[in-house]
Symmetry: C2
Subunit: 378 residues, 2 copies
DNA sequence: CCAGTGCCGGAGAGCGCTCTCGCGAATTCG
DNA sequence: CGAATTCGCGAGAGCGCTCTCCGGCACTGG
């Protein structure tokens, strides 16, 4: 969502040089510090067992710490592992254990008619989510496999991968409320956790932020700052979070005496923020506060306000939602409702790991409390 | 690099609710549209073969399109595959083919003393690179596995994964010039491609942008706009790209009559841009143009200039490097040298795939030509 | 002193797939 | 028209690992 239309690759960027260096990689040469077993390929359990003078099973036990193995034998085996440079073949292991030690991170957005994609990887949101997952997964030696789910083909590829044991579960980040991915996952009985409450209620674990509370925070802050005529710029109302943010804001304002909140709809993009604010200004010239359902639209709103000759925050105060790095760097710096994205992503990973470990486990959801990050714009 | 220090999770963000829904996932139930074979678990080649009345080998041939199989038998097999809902087990396949259909995307940044990490996933750069790779990899049914490489342990994990056939190759995105990861990969003779020229010359394929040309573009633009006293804010000079951008800029300015370019060093962060600009202003009050080696520092420079009472672009023109979405949204919008990141990432994927297919292949590099994206700041 | 009870290590059976090999049938050439 | 080929399919051997069984040994209790 954080991108500029101009970010499409310009035709002018041409490849200029494709040179070659002299050396080829030393394929097949024994690697320093990791000597291969004699014979072809990487050392196997068998090789280690032979070197250690024990059986495959014993080596396996040492490697996996499954059962008690005599201390001295353990020592011998470990040394044999070190000298052979053994490293377990995960394919072989997962063939028998039916565990892969990998989860799929599904970035799900529907491909619209015409538009190539709804997914914008330049949005810092994406990186923060992935980073949070990565750090939570790492201690468990579980790796994330990234997959796009834009088309039906993509989605069935995700399902296949999961079903045939290419990965143990899925962490889904949807960009749309009507995303079919969560439903498909539930239907297939596959372990999965989604970011943000799914569009329709389904028995699927999710992690979310208390959107209504966040909106309330924004409303109260605007009121405290003396705003009397505030408006809202909402996201697409088929997205549950957009819905919650709007209604939460309206309710909070009503409690503070402003029963009617002028509202314009956007689609979470900068341009839609500009358009919404312009429309709002047309109908309600005396606005002194605006709450936008995300930072990008808030930034667009500020732009529209400044174009219209209003000063932010002096004339109109603006609050966004997401606390993205964009808002922090823009001038005036954006006041915004902060969701702890990294923590939320980490929690997703945690829930998924639990679900994988115990598939019978009940579906759970964790809601995080947002905070208000006050900067210059409100 | 695009983040605000305040983005660290605030302690206030507490978990508020961890509810449970009633239903548990229908584990083990036959899935609509994907009926399981009788017996336990997913259908195997064997099952399909039995249903189709042929041998495992034939089914395998049909699945992989290996050798000619009689058309009618193919039809029967395909139907059997459809009715059983067969989907190949990748672990089993990769056990024998020694191919995994996965590559590791290594996000490599060294963990400094004290600082937890140099890697900032909120930087749109990260998402753009990953997105570009994803789209290039997808047609080949190759999935990216994301791994962090901050510590030595991380790096050896990457190496192990590669060596034991958990993935076929690595795409490395380094954030530092002295990153040991590329060297380790070369030493181990593993297929890999890195983003940006490695710190020291090693026989490893890489993709880069013509940094010197980009800097020249910036220099020429400033000169054309009438700037006579320009300065540069460089990145850490142990990073090759920072080095190239600076020297390219200096050379181009020299060609246009400004032999000496006042320079201040930064570390690619917003704050360092502020600091560098402030220092520059101290020493050289008559500056009318600044080239920063990335957008974040350019944004910081603008901030410092405005604080010092200079107008951008009227008094001082500022050009960044990266054409990040941040620059497009900031006011004044940032003029910046654009590197076609998505294309570059896609090219990395292409080179890696080629290298995997033909390991004897020579090391290659592709240099992309940058373009100047002119906005308000210069 | 002998049976009973652990406990530790080895043997071996697969996990699901690919791929070589070989055989029978169809095809082609002399 | 017979022989040489080619072609299509099936049989079967693993790929490297885990895990269940089982046997042997030491230790304990009666």
């Amino acid at each position: 969502m954080a991108d500029d239309p101009a970010d499409a690759p310009p035709a002018a960027a041409a490849r200029v040089h494709a040179g070659t260096l002299e050396a080829t990689p030393p394929t097949g040469l024994p690697v320093a510090g990791a000597p291969r077993a004699s014979g072809s390929g990487a050392p196997t359990l068998e090789d280690v067992a032979r070197v250690a003078g024990v059986s495959r099973a014993t080596v396996s036990r040492v490697v996996n710490g499954q059962r008690r193995v005599a201390a001295e034998i353990q020592a011998v085996v470990r040394e044999a592992i070190a000298t052979t440079g053994y490293v377990p073949n995960l394919a072989a292991r997962s063939l028998v254990t039916r565990r892969t030690g990998a989860v799929i991170v599904v970035v799900s957005g529907a491909e619209e008619q015409g538009k190539p994609s709804t997914i914008d990887f330049a949005d810092p949101f994406f990186g923060r989510v992935v980073g949070g997952m990565l750090r939570a997964l790492r201690p468990h030696a579980v790796d994330p496999i990234l997959m796009l789910a834009e088309t039906d083909a993509d989605r069935s590829r995700v399902l296949s991968s999961l079903r045939n044991g290419n990965a143990d579960g899925a962490l889904v980040v949807s960009t749309r409320g009507d995303d079919p991915m969560p439903g498909l996952l539930v239907e297939a009985g596959l372990p999965a956790v989604v970011f943000a409450r799914p569009g329709r209620p389904i028995p699927l674990s999710f992690v979310d932020v208390a959107n209504r509370d966040g909106a309330r925070l924004a409303a109260e802050h605007l009121v405290t700052r003396g705003c009397r005529h505030v408006a809202a710029i909402s996201g697409p109302l088929d997205v549950p979070s957009a819905q919650d943010r709007l209604s939460g804001f309206q309710d909070a304002m009503a409690r503070h005496g402003q029963a009617f909140v002028p509202t314009a709809g956007g689609n979470f993009t900068y341009e839609s923020g500009v358009a919404a604010m312009t429309a709002l200004l047309d109908g309600y010239g005396d606005l002194d506060g605006v709450f936008a359902s995300n930072d990008l639209m808030a930034l667009g709103a500020i732009q529209a306000l400044q174009t219209a000759g209003r000063r932010v925050p002096e004339d109109v105060r603006v609050i966004g939602f997401d606390d993205s790095s964009l808002g922090a760097l823009s001038r005036p710096a954006l006041t915004s409702v902060r969701q702890p994205i990294e923590e939320m992503a980490a929690e997703m990973a945690r829930i998924l790991l639990d679900t994988i470990a115990d598939p019978g486990r009940r579906v759970t959801s964790t809601i995080f409390e947002p905070t208000l990050r006050i900067r210059a714009s409100a």
